[in-house]
Symmetry: C4
Subunit: 256 residues, 4 copies
């Protein structure tokens, strides 16, 4: 079977211990929203593209009617003079095996670029419509857990109890075997809809960790739009005894 | 796992910058109808066959009770002294991974034969029973888009909004990385049934591009037959408040 | 991924142009019944076993509580001094790709053993409960078709119209590319239940071809048992306006 | 596709003809309960870990919020001065092909470590809510069957009639080809819920075979908890004419 393909868009990358931030599609699109927001705000530059037979066999249409394959992309930006990489994308793998293969490819890249630490970003589905300003974490070492607590990340015994499905979890678990520190940071989210509000909470914690501040206007605007939708859903819930709010995003099957 | 197999039926092919036209089964069978019609009208010659474990594990029965495996086939014809290749076939891949593998194989062949341009043909499902004489396009360069507009291809911002699934899309998106110009041309079609009328519209635009005229009698005859069926469906729709016309062709899952 | 495994049980096989008879599970188990009957009657000897990750991940329990993996098996027997091979088995592939891989493996073996001709045996589902004493055929050459007509095999234009799914079809279609003559012989069968009566018709034609006679007592006994069941089904049909006889064997998904 | 990965946690293992006991998740979790109980009671040491793209793409969360990938693990313990290995784990393969691949990997390890005998442990689903103190067996030789009868293992002609699905069966069937004796020992269990009572029966027989006694307090405690649940299910059954007790554990699809 065809392997996933890595396309390098820049030669002679000279990075100094870059932190890798992973924001792939998942519950409430929380991780994706945060990572893409940072890519925009920091003016990060596209350095690698990944294509995979484990993505849907689909192309996406740009505004000008040119097409592009479904892909995952790595951007390079600077945070306080430090190199930071962002892994974002249209889709996660559609197959179990693909999750493992892509995760392995991403960790190969991380090793090659001497990444010392990975933060994977995701959403933690609460199943409730009420909002919680909490960022939950898991990590691959207790030392890292202690460090992250200082920045406001909450760690709850054995949670998420169902584990974490998809790239956010696998990258944290397998990076330990490569000598890379890694944590998964999850914004609490109802999980039914794209959640830019939860993304704001997660972004705040991540900026805390990085010691930076970024403009969050675009996220705030998205959050307002979604809040209107959420408001309508709540009204509907009050009118009905058995609300039927169904997940509308296939990305819901990823936790994290 | 077993790879797809390319069988070369002719040695010492000497082709001069052949255009590749792809008409595999898809929505309304529009692309397949057009490409097979041209193969017939131009008397194109079979030069390659592709077998794949990603096709259904099935054989088809000829009129004389001999059998043949499900395959994709490449024909070679001449249009105004220029070489043209046609990729047609019984099926697209039944798996996501197979779409990527076969697409990669077809682009290898295109590179080997120094194909400078690819047109993939397909149908664009409108979901309506009324007929539209429009051919919609996407391409892998804005330059090609401008060129195709002159021949009556319509380009609508960000459309198809759901992207394009299957070979028609992947071939256009990935041919850019191989230095090959490519566009997907889609006839508008209700999408529920084989649509030789939409195929006629698409054929007209393609003949425009090639600067040729071809006899379309067989397509017209098929179109008349289908129109009768469509007429009956419409009558049914008028009688019922909630018509229940369901897709009858599995090819519907391909857009394009 | 793990490949299918061929285990050779006998060294230094000296076979002279052996005919290969294939009777794997399929519609009405017709092909399997015939091939296994001949293995028994001719006292054929087990010479090869095939294990595959494309078979169900299952073991079968012998009468004495020892276990054996799901497998396909090749037997060697003699018919009028001529070598004959029988390919029989517990299951066909559970995946599309596996059908292609196993078919390719079987044709490799056929080439190695210099098999000049293959007969694949199967059932042709009529969907009716009435019995037909017909054996339908398809082949990979018109010459073979003419030859088989003499032995009472019937060939109907373009039939089976839905093609043939599974090993019986693939082996016939792909053996042509290896220079091996091949035909698929199908007993007509309602297709709902194991059909030893249809197997008897098919066996008769096959014995005709081989110029032999074999004892058919065990098949007759099985046929009588099944006829009783069929009788009950017919009674049920007469009592009801809309009989609901459902396929009870998963092998029904194979035609042939 | 990515292969399964074996991680060796200890170098220079010097084992003397270690028996391998396999207790992976299956019906009633019977085999897993027994093997993990022995690992605890014997203070067995983790020596190998197996990761596989055929496991769910998921990580599990430890109590302290560190994460670990889904894995299978091999432990080494001592029983009366003899080396014993235990293969336990979070999951079996999620794919058919993975079952074959992992089974092959485990038998490679067994060969490397010169394992002379394998006991796979599982549950035999009775479908009844009443308890049976029976341990059923199958094996890869009649000699081993005779030996095991002495320890109270019951062998019933051709049972389980549906065969055994998953690692417990495949390991027994394929170990014969590697010259390794193997038996599958199954505790009778309703099969609907985790069944520590059946595990106790199976543990007793296994300890019999090993000639040891182990503390079973923790299993007894779990059994009491489950019995309360079972009691409630029975009450429910008595109240209703058509009880609807559905399997609650996905592991039910494994027999053994």
């Amino acid at each position: 079977m065809q392997q996933s393909t890595l396309v390098r868009l820049k030669e002679n990358l000279e990075l100094k211990s870059p932190i890798l931030v992973v924001g792939l599609p998942g519950v409430g699109l929380v991780g994706k929203l945060v990572a893409e927001h940072l890519v925009d705000e920091l003016g990060a530059e596209k350095i690698m593209e990944v294509y995979s037979p484990h993505f849907p066999p689909q192309v996406l249409i740009n505004k000008d009617c040119t097409v592009r394959p479904v892909s995952n992309t790595i951007y390079h930006g600077k945070v306080n003079e430090n190199d930071v990489l962002f892994l974002v994308g249209d889709h996660q793998s559609t197959t179990s095996q693909g999750h493992y293969e892509l995760c392995s490819l991403y960790l190969d890249i991380a090793e090659e670029l001497k990444v010392p630490r990975i933060y994977t970003l995701g959403g933690y589905p609460t199943g409730k419509l009420t909002y919680e300003d909490t960022v939950l974490g898991v990590a691959n070492s207790t030392k890292l857990i202690e460090e992250l607590k200082k920045y406001g990340v909450e760690f709850r015994e054995s949670e998420p109890s169902g584990g974490i499905v998809g790239a956010s979890g696998l990258l944290v678990a397998f990076s330990g075997m490569r000598g890379i520190d890694a944590a998964c940071l999850m914004g609490m989210t109802p999980g039914y809809l794209m959640d830019p509000k939860s993304a704001q909470s997660l972004l705040k914690v991540l900026c805390n960790i990085f010691g930076i501040e970024v403009n969050t206007d675009s996220l705030k605007k998205k959050a307002e739009e979604m809040e209107n939708i959420l408001e309508k859903l709540k009204e509907k819930e009050e009118q009905q005894n058995y609300p039927e709010i169904k997940p509308t995003d296939e990305d819901l099957r990823y936790i994290g």
